[in-house]
């Protein structure tokens, strides 16, 4: 299973990198998002993955027995997900503004000389 996941991760990275090499604002954004997800899954896979044993202590037990999924990567990814949401939302709006100001989607046109500013 991990192999399949790793394949998926590789493809996600591929897609992300390909998109950040484009000239389009929106593609840049999508690329960043793809890379973010790729990284999250990577972390998830690198901590061992376990099926159907969520790290929640059963009503009977006092401690989590060792067969259960490793909670740490989950916590890390959760943090990472939320942070990348913050980044994404900011990025989206930044894009919107850039587009509104420059009326271009072409990243190659993003070079206003200091003097022309405002």
């Amino acid at each position: 299973m991990e192999l399949l996941l790793i394949l998926v991760i590789g493809l996600l990275y591929t897609g992300g990198i390909y998109f950040i090499l484009r000239r389009s604002l929106v593609k840049l954004l999508l690329g960043i998002m793809l890379l973010g997800s790729a990284t999250n899954i990577l972390i998830f896979v690198l901590g061992a993955i376990v099926k159907a044993k969520p790290p929640i202590i059963g009503s009977a037990q006092q401690v989590l027995d060792k067969t259960y999924a490793d909670p740490v990567p989950q916590a890390l990814i959760l943090t990472a997900i939320v942070i990348s949401f913050a980044l994404t939302s900011f990025a989206i709006v930044l894009l919107k503004r850039v587009y509104a100001l420059l009326e271009t989607d072409d990243l190659d046109n993003l070079n206003t000389p200091e003097e022309e500013d405002i």
């Binding site: 969520p54 929640i56 959760l78 913050a86 939302s89 709006v93 919107k96 509104a100």
Partner: protein, 137 residues
Amino acid sequence: MRSSILQTATRYLLPILLLFSIFLLLRGHYYPGGGFVGGLVASIAFVLHSFANGTDATMKLLGRKPLSLIPIGLAIATLSVLMPVIFGLPPMTGLWLKGNFPIVGSIGTALTFDLGVYLVVIGVVLTILFTISLTDD
């Protein structure tokens, strides 16, 4: 995009979602859920409302700028982190009330902290979405 069907539906979906979000918040320490998801669901509730009745209506419903939720949430979270310092413990040390409570399990700084997170998340999401939908350029 006004649809009376959606509006009517929102009337009972909003409270359901809010309730559900609080539910998620409170049980987070025992079962899946917690401040983040809770906050996200709550903000989704308001987003839904704004889709149905327009953002201004939702702002009216909230009564205050969502931005102002952020410092409150942060303050609650920070205070619950700094609480232990008063007792000479390092920050973020969990302090608990005696006894067990339904759903919540035990009540302590962890919970108030999660509450802070909950509020911050609502504030953040709503600030972002409503600012966008209220500005047109």
